[in-house]
């Protein structure tokens, strides 16, 4: 018979140990899933986790791709993690990401065909603003009317996707695109392109922004009174109120910051790897970032590593799709499984599992 005993303090060992345990368990469960799909589980796991990095045939392509994919994930998750710590649940990052891309692209295209170097910085601001505004809707509804930010931010994702479709089909459609949906290719306009900064690394401005965000979040949480208030509000809301923390201010701050970061991620994506506004521009980074935030234990450095690992599963998943014929959805289910295991083994850091004999009850 198992019994749970609450620990007086969370276990240090397990706080760091649980992400590794969860990844290991996911590999086992994922292997079973791949076996059920009739694929060799060992080969599939190796293809997903090792080949993108070490297989000479594909590594030259896939290594830079890891940074390309990790950049938006880390950017979005850093913002989300601040909110999650404070008990502010912004789960509509996907919508903020899409709106950032639309605002940024629209700003850039308004200046087409310019060659001014000021356009790109302006687009970056517009992208952050787009995400920020979209996140402000749930934030203000929450502070003014006590409406659940979880539901509003999520429902706005579906609204953002419709605006995206409308942008691709009408107001941002490429006038020289022969009638095909989609905007001009921003990556091919020098003044608006977000290209690789160092050849062969996959690092673009989004990656730079992600590293800066990790640093800034680390300093904020460790050294700044706001970071302290965020942590306090999440762990002891009552104590936080007595200490003079204004919960509404924290909601606006956390939502605004995470929205702006998600908007930035969208802007860097649309000007770089994606290149243009299309109907299927939103590929779910905003949702995967939630997994990344928990995998990184809501810790900035942890999120950096978690983002890289999740990017690896994306690349590896594509590789497995190509080499083994593994369905694209399998990797999505695999990532979802990871979150389950993370939440499950999290128990170990807060509780002690005791084995007691049947008679002892």
């Amino acid at each position: 018979m198992l019994r749970l005993e609450k620990r007086p303090n969370p276990s240090r060992f397990w706080i760091y140990g649980t992400p590794f345990l969860a990844v290991a368990l996911t590999m086992i469960a994922g292997g079973i899933m791949f076996a059920l799909l009739g694929k060799d589980p060992v080969a599939a796991i190796k293809l997903i986790f090792l080949d993108p990095l070490f297989n000479g045939d594909v590594a030259s392509y896939s290594r830079p791709q890891i940074l390309v994919k990790a950049a938006p994930l880390v950017l979005i998750s850093i913002g989300l993690s601040l909110g999650f710590r404070a008990g502010v649940w912004n789960i509509g990052a996907e919508g903020q990401y899409v709106m950032g891309a639309i605002f940024g692209a629209a700003t850039g295209l308004a200046f087409y065909p310019t060659e001014s170097r000021l356009v790109f910085p302006l687009m970056v601001l517009a992208g952050a603003f787009g995400g920020f505004i979209w996140a402000m809707i749930p934030a203000i509804l929450k502070t003014r009317f006590r409406t659940s930010e979880i539901l509003v931010s999520l429902l706005l994702v579906y609204v953002a996707k419709q605006i995206l479709a409308s942008a691709a089909l009408s107001f941002l459609k490429n006038p020289e695109g022969a009638g095909f949906p989609g905007s001009r290719n921003l990556a091919q306009i020098p003044a608006m392109a977000n290209g690789e900064l160092i050849a062969g690394t996959g690092l673009h401005w989004g990656g730079v922004a992600a590293f800066l965000a990790v640093g800034a979040a680390y300093v904020l949480l460790q050294r700044h009174i706001l970071g302290f208030q965020i942590k306090l509000a999440g762990q002891a809301p009552r104590a936080a109120r007595f200490a003079g923390v204004n919960p509404d201010r924290l909601v606006v701050l956390c939502m605004g910051l995470s929205g702006a970061l998600a908007g930035l991620a969208g802007l860097f994506e649309v000007t770089g790897p994606a290149g243009q506004i299309t109907i299927d521009f939103g590929v779910g980074y905003g949702f995967t970032a939630i997994i990344v935030a928990f995998l990184g234990r809501l810790n900035p450095l942890g999120i950096l590593f978690a983002g890289l690992l999740m990017a690896l599963t994306y690349i590896g998943g594509e590789l497995a799709q190509f080499m083994l014929g593994l369905p694209a959805a399998a990797i999505q289910a695999f990532q979802g499984m990871l979150l389950f295991f993370l939440l499950a083994v999290d128990l170990l850091s807060n509780y002690r599992v005791r084995l007691i004999g049947w008679g002892a009850r």
Binding site: F145, L151, V159, S166, I291, A328, Q335, F340
Partner: protein
């Protein structure tokens, strides 16, 4: 805009059909929340129900077994949520999200060989000459059995919560789990039952999307219906009959915007498709503000985990 093509009676009959998925999912979630558990995985359970129901119906050729399969699929997925939140004491918000993310991935994996197939047709209940009555016929006697079933479930839940011992215990667990525990009720077991009922209802609602509403299988077929169902529970202030009212309201908006799309409205399709989500948000705002705040009716232990030290 040409409104003459919109026949009022047909519209009412259509909205009754359109609201079935959210009504089933919302009444299930209502029971879950009245037991003090917040399961944000409704969307995931619905889409798993949609794919399981579709597969079961196609393989057996029986729509009834399809709905049963959907309910079982949803309930099995909700079991993961139950184990994580009730036994392993995981955060309910995060686990619910995980359920949705996992459900979306798994459903598309399960359904990949079923894209483009046609499910067996769910026939209308034969009411004989009653169905031919003007106005009343199409509205009251022109539907398949699930439409009537969804209304019956609302009535049963209302009655069970109001008038039975089980309902009283369920509400006690949702309002104050510590008190319920000290009275000797098994909080975890009752919540487990509620969660699985919620999963089964969401799964069946999902199956209605893929078997009747669309009817075929495509990825992401539920398109946020689970989230709207969650919003309807808030709209309903956790009361069963208001769930029905809310579902019909949203079914009505959905049908109206679809009809406007079909009638060639001047408003672009994308803006019409936004309407259900925007109006859901608007209703949430109205319900959660002011003196009659919906939150005042929320079960007191909603979203809190229970750990019995002894």
């Amino acid at each position: 805009m040409d409104f003459t093509s919109l026949n009022f009676v047909v519209l009412i009959a259509a909205l009754m059909v359109a609201s079935v998925p959210i009504m089933l999912a919302a009444i299930g979630e209502l029971v879950v929340e009245r037991a003090g558990v917040l399961n944000l995985g409704v969307e995931g359970m619905m889409i798993i129900g949609a794919v399981c129901g579709f597969i079961a119906a196609v393989e057996t050729g029986s729509p009834f077994l399809g709905f049963l399969g959907g309910a079982v699929g949803g309930a099995v997925l909700s079991l993961i949520f139950a184990v994580l939140t009730q036994t392993l004491l995981a955060n309910q918000v995060a686990t619910g999200l995980a359920l949705t993310l996992f459900g979306l991935g798994l459903s598309s994996l399960l359904g990949q060989n079923y894209v483009g197939m046609k499910p067996p047709v769910t026939g209308k209940v034969p009411f004989g000459p009653l169905a031919d009555l003007p106005v009343v016929g199409p509205i009251l006697f022109g539907h398949d059995w699930v439409v009537y079933f969804s209304i019956l479930i609302i009535a049963i839940v209302w009655w069970a919560l109001k008038a039975t011992r089980l309902g009283l215990i369920l509400r006690a667990v949702g309002e104050n789990h510590d008190a319920a525990h000290s009275l000797g009720y098994n909080v975890r077991r009752i919540r487990l039952g509620a969660i699985m009922f919620g999963g089964a209802m969401a799964g069946m609602g999902g199956a209605y999307v893929s078997l009747v509403r669309v009817p075929q299988w495509t990825d992401g077929i539920t398109a946020g219906a689970g989230w709207i169902a969650l919003a309807i529970v808030v709209f309903a202030s956790w009361r069963p009959w208001r769930v029905m009212l809310g579902s019909y309201l949203f079914g009505g908006i959905t049908v109206l915007q679809l009809n406007m799309q079909a009638a060639g409205s001047a408003i672009p399709v994308q803006y019409l498709s936004m309407a259900p989500y925007l109006i859901t948000i608007l209703v949430l705002v109205i319900m959660s503000s002011g003196k009659g705040r919906a939150a005042l009716n929320a079960p007191a232990s909603l979203g809190q985990n229970f750990h019995a030290t002894r």
